[in-house]
Symmetry: C2
DNA sequence: CCCCTGCAAGGAGGCACTTTCATGTCACCA
DNA sequence: TGGTGACATGAAAGTGCCTCCTTGCAGGGG
């Protein structure tokens, strides 16, 4: 698994697999994307509704993160002809399909967080000596 | 879904779920962790073997990333009493269990990369107008 | 003697991400 | 009239990640 695009014969995942999954992880790995996906999974929401739901996100980051999700086709944006403007965001069909693998990570995380924290504690104790 | 630790009754994932999955995504979301996990899934490897397998990674980042994976209990490290030193890294049982959800992301990515790229192209064309 | 090997570590610098602050437009309300 | 709301945008600043370079130790080989 190497970020290089060259094909290398080796006992490891094909490199394009890793590059491909990296793009997904880069997408959902920024600070706010998973929060947005999780918020929108319950149905359409407007910009400030989302802002109120997600504690701590700046308006700048809400705009930018929604923009990125829309660009990737995971979220769609519908502007209503109102004043002030009213914009509705909703997970697309594609965005919905991402919920299953994301849930896989959630379940794994729930199952293993305790063990990971214990491992970190043990490791830190060992290296602090 | 909010990074806050407060419990909020809302039609969305429990907040600690999101904080929990964020830790996993932070773990595997750095530049090199997935490459290392993918490389080690085939069996134990030594430090410079890994370095040669993963194109582009600096020695600094290899050390730091292995350190982080070890701290989380996903990788284990065995030092052999040789000169020069010889260290073997291997995925732990816990590390192996991460392969399934990671594969879920790989499969989703393989299935949807084309659609995402098309969506990006369409979006970029629209905003360039 | 010099270079290479293995496996690190520290520090400087660059880049990207995020926050903060200010700004914009228009309608509505007290 | 001024403040508020909705939904943005741009710029500056701070932070963190990563690369690059150098260093360290000991053994082996040309």
């Amino acid at each position: 698994m190497s970020p290089s695009n060259t094909n290398v014969r080796a006992k490891r995942l094909p490199e394009h697999d890793c590059a491909t999954v990296r793009r997904v992880v880069d997408r959902i790995g920024d600070k706010w994307s998973l929060y947005l996906i999780g918020t929108l999974k319950d149905g359409p929401m407007r910009f400030n509704e989302i802002a109120r739901n997600i504690e701590g996100i700046s308006q700048r980051m809400l705009t930018l993160t929604l923009r990125g999700l829309e660009r990737d086709g995971l979220v769609s944006r519908k502007v209503y002809p109102t004043k002030p403007p009213s914009v509705e965001y909703v997970l697309t069909d594609l965005g919905r399909t991402l919920l299953e693998p994301v849930n896989g990570l959630v379940l794994w995380a729930q199952k293993n967080t305790t063990q990971i924290l214990q491992s970190q504690e043990k490791f830190d104790k060992k290296t602090a000596t």
